[in-house]
């Protein structure tokens, strides 16, 4: 297993390299640059700025320099937020996004998983239909609708929660964003869980367990649920990578200082280094969580062996 993990981490290096190279050149292919703004800088100022950041060097030189700096952990300065380096931005914002994302993911797995199991055990009965209907609603209502509703109801009408802001990471400030972020995930997990649980309950070894007179708990939890978890794990990996790197909608509406908005802002402003930083962070998260999925698979299913 250890060898497998090491091997996977080693193969991650060329993967990252390809991703970095592709995005480095792609973002530069896009028209415009970090200093082409609406108001327009005088050509001299712009040239000075570009010289200061080395943007007038040949592209391959910029590329090699970026790679070299990256190896030292230096993501470069942000062009549009000139007081910060990209690294500082992530050091500040990433913990916020990770907290919100992790909480939302855990909530989604617990609530969605439970709802899915309940639906499966009551297949084609009222409880099942209720879960399916809720899940359908949950995945169709967009977060930019849910978030203002939560703000309106809990923030303004009942004044139970703050309308927005981070509040230094106070618990009440996290409730709104976490719920908003997790609702669609709950819906997805519930539907996935229901399907895989129904299939699992139909399998032959469940029939065996019942024929042996095992308790309903043992049949459902020990035998059916464990096998049914595999598709959930597959889903949770990439979902975690997406949730933990922040959501622009939730962070913007609730005014949370996470990293979710960087990607869009940076791409729109041609903030090359910030785009690259975001790409690297998302890529690393994706690789790590996919590795985690594979490890969990082996933990749950003894047939999966990596050697």
């Amino acid at each position: 297993m250890l060898i497998f993990v090491v091997r996977r981490l080693l193969t991650a290096i060329p993967t990252l390299f390809v991703i970095i190279t592709l995005s480095f050149f792609l973002i530069r292919v896009a028209p415009g640059g970090p200093f082409n703004q609406e108001r327009g800088l005088s050509p001299e100022v712009k040239a000075n700025l570009e010289r200061a950041y080395g943007l007038d060097d040949p592209l391959w030189e910029q590329y090699l320099r970026y790679l070299g700096n990256l190896l030292k952990g230096d993501f470069g300065p942000s062009y549009n937020l000139p007081d910060f380096t990209v690294r500082e931005l992530f050091e500040k914002g990433l913990p916020v996004s990770i907290q919100i994302g992790t909480s939302a993911l855990i909530l989604a797995l617990i609530v969605g998983g439970t709802l899915g199991v309940i639906a499966a055990l009551n297949q084609n009965r009222t409880a099942d239909y209720a879960v399916i209907a809720t899940a359908a609603a949950g995945s169709t209502i967009p977060t930019f609708v849910i978030a203002p509703i939560i703000q309106l109801v809990f923030g303004l009408t009942w004044t139970l929660l703050p309308i927005g802001g981070w509040g230094g990471g106070a618990f009440v400030n996290k409730i709104g964003p976490v719920i908003t972020l997790s609702l669609p995930q709950i819906a997805i997990v519930a539907r996935l869980m229901r399907g895989s649980m129904i299939e699992s309950l139909r399998s032959h070894h469940i029939r065996t367990a019942r024929a042996l007179g095992l308790s309903e708990w043992s049949v459902v939890v020990r035998h059916a649920l464990r096998g049914a978890l595999l598709p959930i794990i597959s889903y949770a990996g990439p979902a975690a990578a997406a949730l933990l790197t922040g959501s622009i909608v939730v962070e913007t509406i609730f005014a949370i200082p996470g990293v979710g908005r960087y990607f869009v802002d940076a791409a729109l402003n041609r903030d090359y280094t910030l785009v690259m930083g975001t790409v690297v962070v998302i890529a690393i998260f994706t690789i790590l969580f996919n590795l985690a999925v594979d490890i969990l698979y082996a933990v749950v299913d003894p047939r999966v062996r990596y050697d």
Binding site: H205, T208, G213, L214, H223, R226, G227, D301, P302
Partner: protein, 547 residues
């Protein structure tokens, strides 16, 4: 063994399933009883309701099924018990083993841990005692090295071993009744015999009654004291085994008994030319390997096999699963990359690529085992049957193709009017006829039949065997008949090749192989399959040499 009071009495049992087409009654008022210590067989073809009868007794029906009537076990109606009360009887007093040894164990837990579950549940033993008991049971069902196997996972065990573990689980609490639902159907013949022997021995040792659900009359004859014959949800006939076999009263029972494949195939006259020949055919698969993981493992599925198929000859290729018999068939048809030389007539086709093979394909047809998976569910039967014509006779008009489809269907004994229907509307036997029509419409010279009858009931099998025989003599066809079912092979083939682990163990004329097998392996195979009467109550007697 028979005697004593009935411990299980099924009275007027009806099983209904709610389906999209309305309510289907699968069991229609069945009465049967099981006495202490005896072996009762419930025989019938697929759809006869034999499994559902016992599933209902155990409350294991699918969620759309329901049962009425009574199943009395020692004076209590199992159908009326609460789940809790029922779970005190299931797995403890009455237990069950199933047809699918590969999937009946939970793949995620070690067999030891699964075996301990019913022990702990019903006997309230501590973990340590349960573990000792589990190991004792593994030993009882003759799993070698039970201490070590205790920690194995199902995927590390063969089908036969898994079925042994299932038996151990079922017998863990010394039940009164063991219900065995086709317990050996999915296993190779030699393994079948071992499992049956084991069951018989355990019955003698432990004294439980066995309810044997099967379609295999050979097993019934070897094994059962009494027989119930079921058809379409009803018991047609019941009685002592000897009497049912000696003088069946009901016409359905007579038909079942007569459905054993019979007849012989004469070898083709000497002058008939060789149509398909393979010399030193070798197929290897590489497993694993790749970036950073070292060289792949090489599996030799077919190891230097040679054969020559003459016009109007049928070569039977027999062997257990994994012996390479299907792979050999596909290699000869050039559907798999292989080493060695293959001639079609005088043409060396071993180096022919896909394009070069295409015009030759019509001479080489293939019929598969699975009549459900091998027909596209979204095409009409007419389209399925004539698909090959689109390639090989593209000039045919639509009307002409349609006429050919009708002809081909008629030839395999189907109503030509059925050609606009879809495969799901047909039974297994009918589908196999469609598959045969699809091959025959191209007027091939060689047909590889890969277990064409294995998924079918005996009575249907017999009809398919007849059909294949008639087609062979009408069109001078050559068959490569791949099967693990020796009774059918004997009726179909004039020459036999016995394969094991990719190699030819023995080959020769059918009668020689069956009557005078030289190799030990062939003898085991024959003993397990053919000599039905010779073993009863677990005594697998040595096969005497027949003249």
């Amino acid at each position: 063994m028979a005697g004593g009071d009935p411990i299980l009495a099924v009275r007027d049992l009806r099983v209904r399933f709610r389906t999209l087409d309305g309510v289907v009654e699968a069991v229609k008022g069945v009465n049967l009883q099981v006495n202490a210590g005896e072996t009762v067989a419930i025989v019938g073809e697929s759809g006869s309701g034999k499994s559902q009868t016992m599933m209902a007794a155990m409350s294991l029906l699918a969620s759309n099924g329901s049962a009425t009537g009574a199943v009395d076990y020692r004076g209590r109606n199992l159908l009326e018990l609460s789940k809790r009360e029922l779970n005190r009887i299931r797995g403890s007093r009455i237990s069950m083993i199933f047809q699918e040894p590969m999937t009946s164990l939970d793949p995620l837990y070690s067999i030891g841990s699964q075996l301990m579950e019913p022990i702990r549940r019903h006997r309230k033993l501590g973990a340590k005692e349960a573990r000792a008991e589990a190991i004792r049971l593994l030993d009882l069902v003759r799993i070698p090295d039970p201490q070590r196997r205790f920690k194995s996972y199902p995927y590390e065990l063969s089908g036969g071993q898994r079925q042994r573990v299932m038996i151990a689980m079922a017998l863990a609490n010394n039940p009164d009744i063991l219900i065995a639902d086709e317990p050996t159907t999915a296993l190779d013949v030699t393994v079948q015999a071992q499992i049956l022997t084991l069951l018989a021995e355990l019955q003698q040792k432990l004294g439980m009654a066995i309810v044997f659900i099967t379609h295999d009359l050979g097993i019934v004859r070897r094994f059962a004291d009494r027989v119930y014959v079921m058809r379409a949800g009803e018991v047609m006939e019941e009685g002592e085994t000897e009497q049912i076999f000696a003088e069946p009263r009901h016409s359905y029972t007579k038909m079942l008994l007569a459905a054993e494949p019979s007849g012989r195939k004469e070898p083709p006259p000497n002058g008939f030319p060789v149509i398909l020949e393979g010399r030193n055919v070798e197929v290897t698969f590489s497993i694993g390997g790749g970036f950073l993981s070292g060289p792949p493992m090489i599996l030799r599925a077919v190891d230097k096999v040679s054969l020559a198929l003459r016009q109007q000859q049928t070569i039977g290729i027999v062997g257990e699963s994994g012996s390479g018999k299907s792979t050999l068939g596909r290699a000869l048809l050039r559907l798999l990359p292989s080493e060695g030389v293959v001639w079609l007539g005088v043409k060396d086709i071993s180096k022919a690529d896909r394009e070069a093979m295409r015009p030759l394909r019509r001479q080489l047809q293939l019929v598969f085992q699975d009549p459900f998976g091998s027909l596209s569910p979204r095409m009409t039967v007419g389209q399925i049957v004539t698909e090959g014509l689109l390639v090989h006779e593209p000039a045919l008009s639509r009307a002409e193709r349609d006429r050919r489809a009708a002809e081909a269907l008629q030839e395999v004994g189907l109503d030509p009017a059925m050609r606009n229907r879809y495969p799901h509307e047909f039974s297994g036997g009918q589908r196999q006829r469609i598959a045969i029509a699809r091959a025959m419409i191209l007027k091939p010279r060689v047909v590889v039949l890969d277990e064409p009858t294995s998924a079918l009931d005996r009575s249907v099998q017999k009809q398919i065997v007849e059909l294949l025989r008639n087609l062979q003599s009408a069109y001078e066809l050559s068959y490569l008949f791949i099967s693990h079912d020796l009774a059918v092979v004997r009726a179909m083939a004039d020459y036999i090749i016995v394969m094991r682990q990719g190699r030819v163990v023995e080959q020769g004329l059918t009668d020689d192989i069956f009557d005078n097998p030289r190799e030990e392996y062939t003898r085991t195979l024959m003993a397990a399959a053919v000599d039905a009467k010779r073993f009863r109550l677990g005594k697998l007697e040595p096969v005497e040499q027949r003249k």
